[in-house]
Symmetry: C2
Subunit: 342 residues, 2 copies
Amino acid sequence: MAPATKISRVTIKTVAADAGVSVAAVSKVLRDAYGVSDALRARVQASMERLNYRPHAGARAMRGRTYTLGILLPDMRNPFFADILAGVNEALERTQYQTMIGVSRSAETIEMSLIDSMIDRQMDGLLMIGPRMPPETAESVSIRIPTAIVGYHVPELATLDTANNDDVAGAAQVVRHLAANGYRRITMVTLAVPTKNVVVTVQRERGYREAMKERGLGQHVNIVPADQTAREVQTVVRHLLESRHRPEALFCWTDMVALHALSVAKDLGLSVPGDLAIVGYDNTIYCDLAQNSLTSVDQSGQVLGLQAARLLIERIDGRQLGDHFVVSPRLVVRGSSRPRPS
Amino acid sequence: MAPATKISRVTIKTVAADAGVSVAAVSKVLRDAYGVSDALRARVQASMERLNYRPHAGARAMRGRTYTLGILLPDMRNPFFADILAGVNEALERTQYQTMIGVSRSAETIEMSLIDSMIDRQMDGLLMIGPRMPPETAESVSIRIPTAIVGYHVPELATLDTANNDDVAGAAQVVRHLAANGYRRITMVTLAVPTKNVVVTVQRERGYREAMKERGLGQHVNIVPADQTAREVQTVVRHLLESRHRPEALFCWTDMVALHALSVAKDLGLSVPGDLAIVGYDNTIYCDLAQNSLTSVDQSGQVLGLQAARLLIERIDGRQLGDHFVVSPRLVVRGSSRPRPS
DNA sequence: CGTTCTACGTATACCGTTCTACAAAACGAT
DNA sequence: ATCGTTTTGTAGAACGGTATACGTAGAACG
């Protein structure tokens, strides 16, 4: 066991004794519950200050709330998630809440075990980012614990809240932009997941497909799946770019894939956008670097994180109706999709 | 408050009743403490299985350990930290431990408040990555809670453990490599922190300085500090590259800075490595992308994370002596530092 | 002046574990 | 059979908060 701290902890009891009030009174001040006079509150707060009192989270967990929110991330490497987290932190800044992050490595089993462990730890709420689970599972989770999700399309569910960008519209903007710049054989690189309508990639695929038809490019629709791993992505893209009918443009479901695509193109001696246009999604910090100069769709991760956190706290405070926040995506044009040379 | 779950929880009591034993017996099985027969253990485990029992973390926190480790990260955007976390997860895979991640945004105040909040939550141990605090503070933290640190040089402290690469050697390798490839005016871009010997940047500065002297390039030693922000880094690098005596090579303390440097160089129409060599540190995934092709120092983040987690658990289990793991860095040469054209 | 409210405080059961102290049972050696 | 000794199991007091139920003093009212 850890080196025994024999210095007895400052508890609510110590504070009560110091302030000359009851334990219950101190607890009331802490939770700022009904029935405390300004005088009492002041006295108690002074004592807490003086003694440097800090509430014991475990003890709280026994009866009330823990003021801790669980955050579920699919992976650490995607810089987009950092934007979301920044928004979450912003929303939580003036509150008592703290966050606890778990990384699921995009595996549904890890996801579920993390959720269990968060529930064991009595998290007050759960904020999931792009989860892999089917909507039935998400719903059953949200019945056990207040839940908000970023990047998950379930507008019909009332037991949980979501914050999304309009992925269909975002993808459509990409296609229209590329079409306007003279590209016709536009291939989409997506994620290899079981086709569930709820995940963002499937929504983006829909937007891509619809916009391609709208622009009369229906015969060029081509959606290629690839796993998350660097190796797999590069293999798939390389295969595409070496094929007889090489695409004129690649629309990648997320920036990370687009960056790998840029790498493969460079390896093969293809110039971007001369021989190939590339567009990503998320508008992460890497897009703006000159060596990438990657056109991408900005979905305001920070706003999504902020809103999701706000919704989650509302939900914890008792809201029963589902709230589904949607932000409009915005195409940020950079060098990688400049007009096609005829 | 959250929607009241009226379904009463499966507790240790339920399990005890189901197995027909005492609460204490169940607790013993859980902690696998001394004095349980195989028969009893089997019976209790069967009951736990059947009832799908899960221990309540808050209740545990009241008396014993929480089986939760706090991890302190300076920021989410540096992909190097993902490697470290992967190592930590690997070490924890076969244990009961879970992790809770907090992001300090490289600010000492946030760092300290996160530490407090982890202690409030009765974390069994703390794993810090590249903390900003002075060693006295780190020591005082390690007296309050078992502590392991990655990327922090305090070999003299016995109250905490560390896992590091040899930053002096890593930086020296970079300088020797560049010198061998014909570069002489090698400038180092470092982090603007109060000069504390414990932080990795200062160690790398030392390695840089020593190797420069060793190669007879003492008069070219130039160490330029820059903040973490993208804007600041780009400004500093731009200023360097536009100066009269433009450096022939840049050694950046971390890959992120090197990537920004590549961007600025491209913006200014400088070719890498023709006009300028660039070397980073950490060998993150971005180095390998063809558009970056960035020479970098690999410090095996995964190994560091694994070792740190291992040391931390040993420490929690009672080890009193300090253990300081060191791995040798390895230079990974890529396009950005090819021999200088004469 | 008695009664009813309201505002403020307090006493205390309770949450789900851990762990110490102890009882009972089983064993071994005379 | 008797007496230690060891093994196995149990009872119950903590741990530090929360929240319910209740007491009490004034104020407001009739």
